[in-house]
């Protein structure tokens, strides 16, 4: 039973350089906790204070999970979760 998780360049230090890893869980939150077992430190880059970090985009298949249920979004075998750091900035 596996969910494919695509990892952006900047987080590959936690996956030994892998662009893609696998995990299990019935919600996104559980999946991240599962990934943390094998890729220590990754969860803290994605989750803060029990919710998804502000400038990290996470997609379940092709939908931004902010429009679904955030960390409570159900995930299942065969799903693909993609992580992309938000591209943002400003004058200050």
């Amino acid at each position: 039973m596996a969910i494919e998780v695509r990892i952006p360049t900047i987080l590959r230090t936690y996956t030994d350089g892998a662009k893609q890893v696998e995990g299990t869980g019935s919600t996104l939150g559980e999946l991240f906790t599962d990934l943390e077992q094998r890729h220590g430190g990754l969860q803290a880059r994605l989750v803060e204070g029990g919710s998804l970090r502000r400038f990290v985009n996470v997609y379940l298949n092709d939908e931004d999970v902010r429009f679904l249920d955030g960390l409570a979004t159900p995930v299942k075998d065969g799903d693909t979760v993609t992580v992309l750091p938000a591209v943002a900035g400003g004058a200050r």
């Binding site: 952006p8 992309l84 943002a88």
Partner: protein, 135 residues
């Protein structure tokens, strides 16, 4: 050093002028590992603000997916400052998350001259680099 075709540089400047006084933003994609910007992709500034920009998350997903399918990567990530210098701000530095990209900053604060500068931003460190425009 950033080597950029004149045509792409001109498109970035035109985009920044067009969206002024809001910040404009976008990507130049190129073949993965080549460090060559080849394809201009203007992005929507989801903040639509004169002092902040953020790529729309659904649009970013599609563009990143497309680059992946074409074996490309974001060689340049650009945005404009509309009232300040073309230098990375504190927020620009803290959100810089593509370690291989050249961060191009354009300033449209002057009506007639557009400042165009490029930087590497890695682990919170900004290094300005020369820009070579090629025909």
């Amino acid at each position: 050093m950033l080597t950029i075709p004149r045509e792409l540089r001109d498109k970035i400047v035109a985009h920044a002028r067009q969206d002024h006084p809001d910040e404009a933003c976008g990507v130049l994609a190129g073949p993965a590992g080549s460090d060559r910007p080849e394809r201009f992709i203007a992005m929507t500034n989801a903040e639509r603000s004169p002092t902040f920009y953020r790529f729309d998350s659904a649009e970013q997903f599609r563009v990143w997916q497309e680059m992946d399918d074409k074996d490309e990567e974001p060689v340049v990530i650009y945005h404009s400052h509309t009232a300040t210098e073309a230098y990375p701000s504190r927020t620009d530095i803290s959100y810089a998350s593509e370690p291989h990209a050249h961060y191009v900053l354009v300033s449209t604060k002057d009506e007639h001259e557009t400042e165009f500068r490029s930087y590497r931003i890695v682990d919170g460190v900004v290094t300005e680099e020369p820009v070579t425009v090629v025909e």
